[in-house]
């Protein structure tokens, strides 16, 4: 992909438009809420404009945009945590998982259970699974975003899947 000139709006806006759909899907996977995802996608766009000077030419635009999206989601998640009194333990105790272990019959239920189980993961693990499994990022690309090696990204992704397995099946 051609390098974007850091402060060139004419290039940033069309690039954002190209990634708007995938970024929305990414945020929707993380939040499971349509309106929130729209709001957060808009915030990503605002930050993209605001921080476009921090974009290093030659850096893949997609990785940069997702980095911003991850930060936007983390901020949103932290705001929510402050407002929410429930924690994972409490959610589990109340059985808010929707009895995931007891109804693995219909595909719709399974999809829903999976969403609920993923939402119980710590955000970093949730993100890495969405990036790798749903958004098709390679371990190398994820490593770039996280600032670690591809091997470390793979280990993180595997541990996230193991954590999801424990939540989903127990």
């Amino acid at each position: 992909m051609a390098a974007v000139q850091a402060d060139d709006l004419d290039q940033v806006v069309p690039l954002f438009e190209r990634y708007q759909g995938p970024l929305f899907n990414f945020l929707y996977r993380l939040t499971s809420d349509y309106e929130t995802s729209q709001d957060l996608t808009q915030t990503v766009f605002e930050r993209l404009l605001k921080y476009r000077a921090s974009y290093r030419p030659g850096q893949p635009f997609r990785a940069w945009a997702y980095q911003l999206a991850r930060n936007v989601h983390t901020d949103h998640w932290q705001r929510n945590q402050k407002m929410r009194t429930t924690d994972v333990v409490e959610v589990e105790r109340k059985g808010a998982l929707g009895g995931a272990a007891f109804r693995h019959t219909a595909a719709v239920d399974r999809e829903q259970d999976l969403h609920e189980a993923m939402a119980l993961l710590p955000p970093a693990q949730h993100e890495i699974l969405v990036l790798h499994r749903f958004q098709g990022f390679s371990y190398e690309e994820i490593a770039d975003m996280l600032g670690c090696t591809a091997g470390a990204a793979k280990v993180k992704a595997h541990r996230a899947l193991q954590a999801l397995r424990t939540i989903y099946f127990n």
């Binding site: 899907n25 929707y28 999976l114 899947l161 989903y168 099946f169």
Partner: protein, 62 residues
């Protein structure tokens, strides 16, 4: 007679379990994993669960 491996053996193979479940290990490691899993009901269940999870995660978004 097979002896069920101890959980420390399971810990040794834990990081390879996902790759094993997704058939992405080189032959030598696959053989090592297969030898453990064959005798370990716990890891057999984990592999089955990881495979089910992997298949569900491939489904398109609603």
């Amino acid at each position: 007679m097979n002896i069920t491996p101890s959980s420390s053996d399971c810990l040794d193979v834990a990081d390879l379990l996902v790759d094993y479940a997704e058939h992405s290990l080189p032959p030598e490691q696959t053989a090592r994993m297969a030898a453990h899993v064959a005798n370990c009901p716990r890891c057999q269940e984990r592999v089955a669960q990881l495979q089910e999870l992997g298949a569900n995660l491939k489904q398109p978004s609603p």
